[in-house]
Symmetry: C2
C-alpha cells in the first residue's frame, strides 16, 4: 500500500462541481488501498479576489496581514473537499498549515518551509482517513501565519512527501503533463513520459510554467518522484525523476518559449572594473530579478555594451533605476525592448553531445530569425529573438530536433 501525496491546484477546485470531481478521483484512489494526503490550493480566483479587497484599503498591505488574508483561501478549499469526500462515504479530515506544524522562515508572502511535524497526519492515516492539507501556508516561530509565494502549494506537497517519506507526489493540473513544446504553438508537440529534475528546472525557468521551480529543486534534492498530470483526464502525465532512472537517452527533451521578459541594454559603458557590479547592485536593491546577462565589446575598445533581460513588469522601473547610475559611470545610453522572446532548448543529452548549439544557430540563421542574445547552461541553450519570430523559431527547432517523434 503506497503513500501518495496528491496536489490539486486552484483551477481543479474552482467550484463545487470541480471539487466533486476531485473528490471522485481521490476516492477512487482510496478504494485501491492507497494511503493519501491531498494538498489543495484556494478555489479558482479566491486569492486574486482577496487581494482586490486588500487593494481597496491600502496600496502597501503589510506582509503579515496579507498572509492572514490569503491563507483563508486554502482553509475554505480543504473544508469543502473534506465535505465532498465524506459525502462519497470516504472518511477524510482537513488540516490547515499550523495544524500540521508546517514551520517556515519568518519572511511573509515568500516564506521557506523549515520543518513539518508529521505526527498528526500519520495518526489520521492510521485511522484510515484521507488527509487534506491546506497548501501555500505555514507558521513561523512567532506562530504568525506565513505563505510560500506563487506556486507555494506545489512546495507544500513536495515537502509533505519528504516529511512522510511518500512513495510519490502527484501534481494535478489543467494540462496533461509536460510537452516537448507548447502544444498551442506546435501541433505535433508530444507529451513527455519521463524527464529529469534538471531538465524540468531548466524548462520551468525558461517559460514552461507547469510547476514552481523551488518545488522541483526540493523534489530533486530528496529524490521524490513527481507525477504531473491532468485533473480531468485519467491517463498518465509526465514523471519527473532522477536522471539515472530515465530509460531513453534523448538529446533534446523540449523547446520552451518565454515572452515575459524585456531586454535592457546599457551602451557605451567605460570598460573599468566594478562597473557591472554597480549596475546589477542597483537592480538587486530594487528586488528586480535579472535573467540573461551579456557583455560585449562596444564600438570602441574602451567601451562595452551590457545587455540583460528582466521581467516585463519590472522593465520601466529598472530603466528608471539605471538612469542615475548610468550618468555616474558615464554610459552613453539605455535601450529597452519589451518585444522579445527567449527560446530555449533543454536536454541532458547535450552534456555528452557536441553540436547542439551549432545546429540551433544554423536552423534559426538559415530561416532568417535573428539572434539578439545567447546564453547557455550545461543542459540548456537560450536565444533571445524578436517576439514576432518566436513561434516560427519554436516550430523550426521542434522539427529540427525531431521532438514530434
Amino acid at each position: 500500500m503506497s503513500l501518495i501525496v496528491q496536489k490539486f491546484g486552484g483551477s481543479s477546485v474552482a467550484n463545487p462541481s470541480r471539487i466533486k470531481n476531485v473528490a471522485g478521483r481521490v476516492n477512487a484512489y482510496r478504494k485501491k488501498g492507497h494511503r493519501l494526503v491531498v494538498v489543495v490550493s484556494a478555489l479558482g480566483d479566491t486569492t486574486d479576489e482577496l487581494l482586490k479587497l486588500a487593494a481597496q484599503l491600502t496600496q502597501k498591505p503589510p506582509g503579515r496581514e496579507l498572509d492572514v488574508l490569503m491563507s483563508a483561501g486554502e482553509q475554505i478549499s480543504i473544508a469543502l473537499l473534506a465535505m465532498a469526500l465524506k459525502e462519497l462515504g470516504c472518511e477524510a479530515v482537513s488540516f490547515t498549515g499550523w495544524q500540521v506544524g508546517i514551520r517556515t522562515s519568518s519572511s511573509h508572502t515568500r516564506a521557506r518551509i523549515h520543518h513539518i511535524n508529521p505526527n498528526r497526519i500519520l495518526e489520521a492515516l492510521k485511522e484510515k482517513k484521507v488527509v487534506i492539507v491546506a497548501g501555500f501556508q505555514g507558521i513561523n516561530s512567532c506562530n504568525d501565519i506565513t505563505t510560500l509565494g506563487r506556486g507555494g502549494s506545489d512546495l507544500t506537497a513536495v515537502a509533505l512527501a519528504k516529511a512522510l517519506e511518500a512513495d510519490a507526489c502527484e501534481i494535478y493540473t489543467d494540462v496533461e503533463g509536460i510537452f516537448t513544446t507548447d502544444p498551442r504553438l506546435v501541433k505535433n508537440a508530444r507529451k513527455i513520459k519521463k524527464i529529469s529534475y534538471e531538465e524540468m528546472l531548466e524548462l520551468a525557468s525558461s517559460g514552461a510554467q507547469v510547476m514552481q521551480s523551488r518545488s522541483i529543486e526540493v523534489a530533486g534534492k530528496y529524490d521524490i518522484p513527481l507525477h504531473v498530470r491532468s485533473s480531468f483526464k485519467k491517463n498518465e502525465g509526465t514523471w519527473i525523476v532522477k536522471e539515472a532512472k530515465l530509460m531513453e537517452d534523448v538529446l533534446i527533451r523540449g523547446v520552451s518559449v518565454n515572452k515575459n521578459e524585456a531586454k535592457i541594454s546599457v551602451r557605451g559603458v567605460p570598460n573599468r572594473p566594478g562597473i557591472a557590479a554597480g549596475i546589477f547592485k542597483t537592480l538587486a536593491d530594487k528586488s528586480i530579478n535579472v535573467d540573461m546577462i551579456i557583455q560585449n565589446i562596444g564600438k570602441s575598445a574602451a567601451n562595452t555594451d551590457i545587455s540583460f533581460t528582466v521581467p516585463k513588469g519590472d522593465a520601466h522601473s529598472a530603466v528608471r533605476a539605471l538612469e542615475a547610475v548610468s550618468r555616474k559611470i558615464g554610459a552613453k545610453e539605455i535601450l529597452m525592448d519589451p518585444h522579445i522572446a527567449k527560446i530555449s532548448v533543454v536536454g541532458i543529452g547535450m552534456r555528452s553531445h557536441a553540436g547542439v548549439a551549432a545546429a540551433m544557430f544554423e536552423t534559426l540563421g538559415k530561416n532568417k530569425v535573428n539572434i539578439e542574445m545567447i546564453s547557455t547552461s550545461e543542459i540548456k541553450i537560450s536565444c533571445v529573438v524578436k517576439q514576432a519570430d518566436a513561434e516560427k523559431a519554436v516550430r523550426l527547432l521542434h522539427d529540427k530536433f525531431k521532438l514530434g517523434k
Copy 2:
C-alpha cells in the same frame, strides 16, 4: 487609560468602505489614549456564502469541517481591518482564535469558551498596537477549529473583556441601541440609556435580537459593562449594567414582540403522571426548543390540554414527531397555529410592584386583543396573541406603560 474591547458585526464590515469607517472610529479612540482590542465578525454575507458552497456538496456537512470553513470568514476580516488601520498610521496586529489561545469545548458549530490565554494580546498592547481578534472561533483540546454558534462574536468580545479585565465592552451594531420597543412598529419608541443584564436577557429571549443571550449572561456573571451602540453614528447607545448601577427605578423597561414562534396544542390528553414528560422528551430528542408551556384542564376532568410554542421552522417536524406519541398516550388531536405573536413586557420594577399583569391583561382585553397563552417570570410577562393583533398590542402596551416618555 482604559482598556476597551470593541466588537463590530458583519454589517459593520460588509465591504471595504465600511471597513474604512470602522478603522476610522477605532483610530479616533486610539488617539484618545485608550488601549483597544477589536473583535470582528465575517464580512457581511460571507458566512452565508460559504454555507451555500457547502450545501452544493452535501446535505449534512460534518461539524468539524463546517467550522474550518466558516472560521475562514473572520480570518479575512481581521486581516483587512488591520490593513485599513495601518493605512491610517495606526499600528495594529490581527489574531485568529487559535493564535490567542481561545480554548473551547469540543462541540462543533456551538462550542463554549473555556479559557483564553491573554499573553499574546497583552504583549501586543504593550507594544502600543491595536489588537484585532477574529470573533466566533476558537480551538478545542485536539487543536481542531471550533465556532461558537450564531452571535458568537459577541461572546468572543465579552470573554476577552473578562480575560483582559477590560473596563468596558462595546458592541457596535446597525441599530443605535436598545429601544423601549421596535421603532419600526411604534413611532415614539425611545432609546434606553441603561438597562440591567436581567432585563436585557428577557428582552433578548423575547425577540429583541440585538445581542446574543449567552454573551449577556456571561457579561452579567462577571459584571462587565456592555455598551450597545451604532457603528455609523457617534452618539451613545445603551449601557447594559448591573441592576445596582441603574439610577432610575422604572416599572417597565420595554415591550418586545416575537413573531418567530408557532403554537402547538395537544388536546384531550389523559390526565396521568408522566404524560407531559413523554411529549417534551420526544421534542428534546429532535433538538426542538420549546418556549412557553401551558397545561389546562380539558373539557372533562380526566383529560387535559397541553399547549406550547416552538420556533416556526421546527413546527412541522414537531407535529410529525408528536403524532406517534399522541396515538400511544391516547390524545385526541394535535393543533398547530403559526399565525401567533408573543408580546412581552419586561422590567425589574415588577419585582416590587404588583398589578403589572392586571394592567397588561386589562389593556389588551379592553381593546379586543384576545390572549391565547400567558407565561410569566419574575421580571417579564408574555402573552401569545394572534399575529394580526401583534402591532396593535405592542402600541397599546407601550402607551399604557408610558414608555414613549
